[in-house]
Amino acid sequence: MTSKDNGRSMGYKIFSVVVLIILAFLFIFPLYWIITGALKPPAAINSPKPQWWPSEFTMRNFQVLFSKRSAPLFQFGSVTGPTVPAAIRWMVNTVFMAVMAMILTCITAAMAGYALAKKRFIGRYLIFSLIVAAMALPKQVILIPLIREMSALGLYDNIWAVIFPTVGWPFGVFLMKQFSESIPGEMLEAARIDGASEFRTFTNIVVPMIKPGIGALAIFTFINSWNDYFMQLIMLTSNANLTISLGIATMQAENSTDYGLIMAGAALAAVPIIIVFLIFQKYFTKGITMGAVKG
């Protein structure tokens, strides 16, 4: 390389670092604006001149958020929990939904992915093609028929109506198949010769080997399920059954000018999931890249 080239590439490096820092700032800003907005008093929010850093912190927005609506903490059949602010119930619903979707997806997808990768049986190519084809279709077009199906099953306005289609979405099976391909066939053969049952082979040999994949799928499903607003919107209607995103959207429609209140809701919906993402982001990244290898 000539010195002129070096100078130019140095200049480009500085340029790109500066642009990256500006972009990073712009991408973080909305989140910053949500969190500081949630802590600002109405006067600071409803002023044409933005307050870049809150001059005064207040919990007023959260107090309003927690006093607007209430709902029982939980309901199991005829057992009803104590009445709490609805936002807390929405949180309980959201965590329950995301955790259930995550557990069911990981179990079913790990089993199915292993079977598609390692078992030789008639029809596997057909099933796998069907899975890939379904992944390429827009998820939302199935939502209208899904409503009627859920009504027929008596699950409409029930959190399970959101969980089941998430578990059925075939991305997880695809991802698990990718991970299971790397299991050496000799290990499975050895287990069979030793007389291990199919199920024991799966739990004692396959699962430990695809653990990183299961971790990736778990965090991926958890975050996607948490944020799948459209599905939640059409399936859930009554106050006690809403998720946190849905509850915030409802409050937004009713109090569209109280931005402080809405930011408090947005912070409540966003901050927990962002913390989960930060803790597990390595797994998450792995899941995204593995799921695309053969895209």
Partner: protein
């Protein structure tokens, strides 16, 4: 365990294979395949929410009506504008960011990956409401900043003006679309064969030549995948519309996905909504096939 399988072993493989698949298939068939089939079937019926009134078979009438429905055509046009703008911008932007960060140290790399993924994780509702505030006519920071910089002389009602509303939506969509492509490009770029790059550099190739001749062909499969997922995501732009503009003003931000929702859940015309869903799926399939074809040729 290849061709030499005994019949007993083959039977065991088949039975256990299907048993392992069974739980997943129950959910996949029950809540994905069945609704997909139902979507196609219902699109030939006049169907509504009421379970007591039977669906009436009307053949292709729903599909014929679509092409005379001015709102649908407007929605289709807007959807295509969103796709045509966002897909290339997302690809170029994320490729640039990825090439700028992929050789950084682990900490800096993670930092940027997280930052650009942040709007996706934050969730569509939280992202949308904060942008709504930022776009606000009176209290929004955009009007304040642009007026301060002298770009505009008086406040603009960004989301209420047909001239700007769609553009405003596209900007938010872009910030929530680049996270995944950047992660994918970073991983693709770090897998590029480094011996080829070094050999080219020894031969005196410029950075740009190295990029186009060596790296670009190797990351082509990733580009294709990103094109397809970004296309699908842009076609499905929904939450932004529902929470910000409800398709207005004067249908300026109506998209197919939002119109499907509106038709099914506000007008209760399930059959008509499903016909739109089928048309949308066909468009996405055609566009994906076209992208595959173009990628294969080049």
């Amino acid at each position: 365990m290849t061709q030499t399988m005994s019949p007993a072993l083959r039977r065991r493989e088949t039975v256990s294979g299907y048993l392992f698949l069974l739980p997943s298939l129950v959910f996949f068939v029950g809540f994905v395949v069945v609704p997909m089939v139902m979507c196609v079937i219902t699109s030939f019926f006049d169907a509504n929410m009421n379970a007591n009134t039977p669906d009436v078979f009307i053949g292709l009438a729903n599909y014929k009506e679509l092409w005379q429905d001015k709102v649908f055509l407007k929605a289709l046009r807007n959807t295509f504008i969103i796709v045509l703008v966002s897909v290339p911008v997302v690809c170029i932007f994320s490729l640039w960011v990825a090439s700028a960060i992929y050789q950084m140290k682990e900490f800096a790399l993670s930092f940027y990956r997280v930052v650009f993924y942040l709007p996706v994780v934050t969730g569509s509702v939280a992202v949308t409401v904060v942008w709504k505030w930022m776009y606000n006519n009176y209290y929004g920071i955009f009007n304040y900043l642009l007026k301060g910089a002298g770009v505009i002389s008086k406040n603009i009602n960004w989301l209420g003006d047909p001239k700007y509303a769609l553009g405003c939506i596209i900007i938010i969509l872009l910030t929530t679309s680049v996270g995944q492509p950047i992660v994918l490009y970073v991983s693709a770029l770090s897998n590029v064969d480094s011996t080829l790059v070094e050999a080219a550099e020894v031969d005196g190739a410029t950075n740009l030549q190295v990029f186009w001749r060596i790296k670009w062909p190797q990351i082509m499969p990733t580009t294709l995948y990103i094109l397809v997922i970004t296309t699908i995501n842009s076609f499905q732009c929904f939450a932004l519309i529902q929470l910000l503009t409800s398709g207005g003003p004067n249908y300026a931000t109506e998209t197919v996905m939002y119109y499907i929702y509106y038709t099914a859940f506000k007008l209760y015309r399930f059959g008509y909504g499903n016909a739109m869903g089928v048309v949308l799926a066909i468009f996405i399939a055609l566009l994906s096939a076209l992208q595959f074809r173009l990628a294969k040729e080049s």
